[in-house]
Symmetry: C2
Subunit: 217 residues, 2 copies
């Protein structure tokens, strides 16, 4: 795959194009950091946007579907999809209301998802979900049995038509507003991890794994 994805008419960033990037490394880093994606699809002309967990393996996203869901039925029937991932990094407090903004990193991927039937690929996707949540978890837990694997529906969306948009840095005010006497700056935001809470039914003799007590984010 090339290092940068071509901007199609549909993925070219129209608004604030200087914030756009089509670089695969930048895009994949954003995807790998996010726990949740928002997947868009339409049913009888009505768009739905559903938050769901996902993982990336190589040049594809994997999504965990349910047979009962509108999403799986629509996507399996060939409906075009859009998967969007957003990370929020800060609030921009400018001197004018008009220039208030946010720092963020987002990715928009368009394409068609397909249902994965191959048990080995399904297993790889489940492993990728687990390792994305928390690296090291997969080897510690009870892995899927054949019945669970059969009941699991995995969708794959190849990453061919993708763009990212990133706002970073500080306040950008209009020249004439810099004299306005108000504090201006950035309030940084991040996803924070609090100490793990042991399940009531988890025997106290079982050690807390380092990946939980010392979360790697």
């Amino acid at each position: 795959m090339p290092e940068s994805l071509p901007a199609s008419d549909r993925t070219r960033v129209v608004r604030e194009a200087h914030r756009a990037t089509y670089n695969r490394e930048v895009i994949y880093k954003i995807l790998d950091e996010a726990f949740v994606c928002h997947i868009g699809f339409a049913v009888e002309g009505q768009p739905f946007v559903i938050p769901t967990m996902f993982a990336r393996i190589g040049d594809a996203l994997y999504i965990h579907g349910s047979a009962a869901s509108r999403m799986l039925r629509a996507l399996a029937a060939g409906a075009p999809a859009c998967v969007t991932v957003t990370l929020l990094d800060g609030l921009i407090l400018a001197r004018s209301i008009f220039n208030h903004s946010m720092n963020y990193r987002s990715v928009v991927a368009l394409g068609h998802a397909m249902i994965i039937d191959d048990p080995a690929e399904k297993l790889r996707a489940l492993q990728a979900f687990a390792e994305k949540l928390i690296p090291g978890r997969w080897n510690d837990v009870r892995q899927p049995n054949e019945k669970e694997l059969k009941a699991t529906h995995i969708l794959k969306l190849p990453l061919t038509e993708v763009s990212a948009k990133v706002r970073t840095g500080g306040v950008e005010d209009d020249a004439e507003d810099y004299a306005f006497p108000v504090w201006a700056g950035v309030i940084p935001l991040r996803l924070a991890v609090d100490p793990p809470l042991r399940d009531d039914r988890c025997d106290a003799s079982l050690p807390t794994p380092s990946y939980a007590s010392n979360f790697p984010r």
Copy 2:
């Protein structure tokens, strides 16, 4: 407006229906806590999902559009929309891979957005955006002038067809897995606020407002 919204065929939660709520108070609390929504719309059959800031006033969501954007053009032309908001509260580390999950609160709103032309309503929406970012900011900054207000495009989406889905609490394993000897529990996640960073061009004599030094979240 009634306390609870009726579940339409389109907003009724199909998957894990016990996690669904149609209570307006619960729904509005989730909307008010989130900084970003994901708005879905289709252009020539292709869904797009775009992250954007928003605010709620009463029984409507307001979204800040740009005249140059696909989104504004599509929604203004009457395309049906879906606005989804997701808050991530924790990772559920179960004993089996299959029962790994996340704690979250999400809202899905369906409807049609309309462009707001009334300058007074546009101003109220801008004030709601500012006060959502950080209560108290609106009165401190240079408020919009007539030219800016004219250039601002605000979309309104009445909240008539809305549902929420909430997962809370701890691990839920299958009965036979509780004996599996692995640590299980919840890793709490939250949006954290770091100390504010003063803009390089902000005179050091201007005090940091308490809403920035002591962020109310």
